[in-house]
Amino acid sequence: MNAITGTPPQDLNLLPDHAFRLHVRRFVEATYPAEIRNPPKRLHWSENKAWYMILAGQGWLAPGWPREWGGMALAPTKQIIMIEEFERYGCARTNDMGIVMIGPLLLKYGTADQKQRFLPAILRGEHVWCQGYSEPNAGSDLASLRTEAVLEGDDYVVNGQKTWTTLGSDANWIFLLVRTDRAAKKQEGISFLLVPMDTPGITVRPIVNLDLHDEFCEVFFDNVRVPATHLVGEANKGWTMAKALLGFERIHLGSPKQSAYALQRLRQLADRMGVADEAGFQDNFARLWLDLEDLKALYETYVERLRRGEGLPPDVSMLKVIQSELFQRITDALLEIAGENAGLLFYDDFSSVLRMIE
């Protein structure tokens, strides 16, 4: 059931792929807010909420959720088509942590009460979630996770610090990985907690990053009391749950679209600077273009695996490495032909040089 309109959306799995693609394309072209097309930076909730609510109204917010919870129950192939069409048109990413992370988490590990309380609130745009995983000085395997939650009566008392929390200042809820058993080793002894951001003891401090954008935050926890009912699943099993959430979205991290868009800008800039026909530029441009086409071909082989209903092997992560490296080289080329303009603060999108590639 659609959380906004109350009507069940059409089952789009019934459409052939190509027809589905055109359907999505037409919808995006007809409804996407023009003023936030191809944003140079990650948008805040105040900027992307309009698009979020348009998707909500259409019943398209949660392509992967089951239909009984207001999702589209869309096959992975069709989810990818949807992503491709959104990217193609230059749609902004929304504050989608509730959709992408909390939904699947609660559907798999949540209690009936938790599902009832949280899922519809996400679809209505009432709960805006952020992710509290990263900590200062922690490796990516969270072995040295230090934010701690101690059970006192019916509450967990949380102390510690999270960092690089994407759009943390937009959120009214945060999902946390916290250490609940100090004696356990490494990834054991970690639990999953859902915490309202207005709980006393939480302080949010935006991080201004190199391109002078406050996309990330630090979040401090000082004796923050969280009802034990906000624990997801079993205590001390948080890391297992977090890993299970890394689904087919991993392929998205290696999408060639960022590089494709940058290469298009490179071509335009070369035209503008009058170097497009120089052999030196052509030579480098050919390398970048061919590398992009090969990345697309490799990306396609993983999409094809999904299409065949197979899982993604761990080496899907190489897409991200290849894409980052290629994007970097395209940016280098942009900087080079821009000449002195590359030093300007507002010119094309060169602050991407200063951006941490996620």
Binding site: P16, Q282, A286, W289, L290, A297, L298, R307, D315
Partner: protein
């Protein structure tokens, strides 16, 4: 995707898998290279008996239409087999021969009125049985995919030419590019050894019978398919060299640790893995594009992409593979060096990376919109 398309894609995948498996007959996956070492630097630098076996397996006529006695298979199968032969460093000139059988089959289809068609038919039949080797003597200078057909000009870089029974020689005649079939016996042919233990021949063409009036519309496409086949061989070369290096990293120890545990070596191995994966994606996409009957510009673009990638990646991977092996990699005794030697020969055959990048740019504006 419709159910029908899915099934046909599955059939296709199965056909390619079968060909890939059958390659084990000649190029055992275990990787024993005794036969390869026995052939190298010893005329004719490949094994006539194995060539005959390749005939009886249907490989010498893999792309030849069934009507002309071949297997009539697609570029998907051709590349899958070429990859396996590359992995096994098989010296028999599978790709160069396929270029000629394609032209011979076309000649038989087009030119039955010509005096030479009988000879062409016999030559093709002999190649299909693995009793003959026909090489196409198209190339007049290095770094070129162009066959000018200059009368009397020496034709260069004929691989394994010492074992050829015939040559096909394109010759410019007026507006057309005629094709002559010349016997190898008595031909003015000089041989120079190549890094992989084979030879390049230089032919000063003379005589022969005309088997086709104009091959100019066919030859570029045929050379393109040979370039893609060579890219597939390079894929096999680098894939196997990488696999050998990974094994080595896992089993060798230094300072009491498996050397594969050293972070720097892990990073280098990861880089090579990406190159192999990108090459595979590029080659297989190109083969599929050709088999799907794409337009000429699109064909040139995907072939150029695949060969440019394969040529550069193969040199990088095989050279790094030697370094990952440490000192032992620099001895002729160890097999890993043979992979670099093969890459040195194949990388520039049917066009090197720079040539193919230029070819891509020449057609890409027409073909790259998606």
């Amino acid at each position: 995707m419709s159910q029908d398309m899915a099934t046909s894609a599955d059939d296709r995948a199965e056909s390619i898998r079968l060909i890939r498996d059958s390659a084990a007959a000649i190029a055992p996956p275990g990787g024993d290279l005794k036969r390869i070492r026995a052939c190298r630097f010893r005329a004719p630098c490949f094994d006539a008996a194995v060539w005959e076996q390749m005939g009886s397996l249907g490989w010498t006529g893999l792309r030849v239409p069934e009507a002309a006695g071949g297997a009539g298979l697609g570029m998907g199968e051709f590349c899958a087999l070429a990859e396996q032969l590359g992995a096994g460093l098989v010296p028999e000139p599978f790709v160069a021969s396929a270029l000629s059988t394609g032209l011979l089959a076309a000649a038989l289809g087009h030119a039955d009125s010509l005096r030479g068609s009988g000879a062409a038919g016999e030559a093709l039949a002999a190649v299909l049985e693995g009793r003959a080797l026909v090489l196409t003597a198209w190339q007049e200078r290095a770094n070129s995919l162009d066959a000018p057909g200059t009368h009397g000009a020496p034709r260069m870089f004929l691989p394994m030419a010492g074992g050829a029974t015939h040559f096909l020689v394109p010759v410019r005649e007026g507006a057309g590019l005629a094709l002559y079939l010349q016997s190898a016996s008595g031909a003015d042919l000089t041989l120079e050894p190549t890094q992989d233990g084979g030879v390049f021949g230089t032919l000063r063409p003379e005589g022969g019978v005309k088997i086709m009036d104009d091959t100019s519309a066919l030859l570029p496409g045929a050379l393109g398919e040979a370039a893609l086949g060579t890219a597939a061989m390079l894929l096999g070369v680098m894939d196997r060299a990488f696999a050998m290096s990974l094994d080595y990293l896992k089993t060798r120890t230094q300072f009491g640790r498996a050397i594969g545990a050293f972070q720097t070596l892990q990073h280098r191995a990861a880089d090579l893995k990406m190159q192999v994966a990108l090459t595979r994606a590029s080659v297989e996409a190109a083969a599929a594009t050709l088999d799907a009957g794409a337009a000429a510009a699109q064909r040139v673009a995907v072939i150029a992409r695949a060969k440019a990638r394969a040529s550069e990646a193969a040199m990088l991977v095989t050279r790094q593979a030697i370094q990952l092996h440490g000192g032992i990699g620099y001895t002729d005794e160890h097999d890993i060096g043979l992979y670099l030697r093969k890459a040195m020969v194949l990388s520039n055959q049917f066009g090197g990376a720079a040539l193919h990048r230029r070819a891509f740019m020449a057609v890409a504006p027409e073909s790259a919109d998606d």
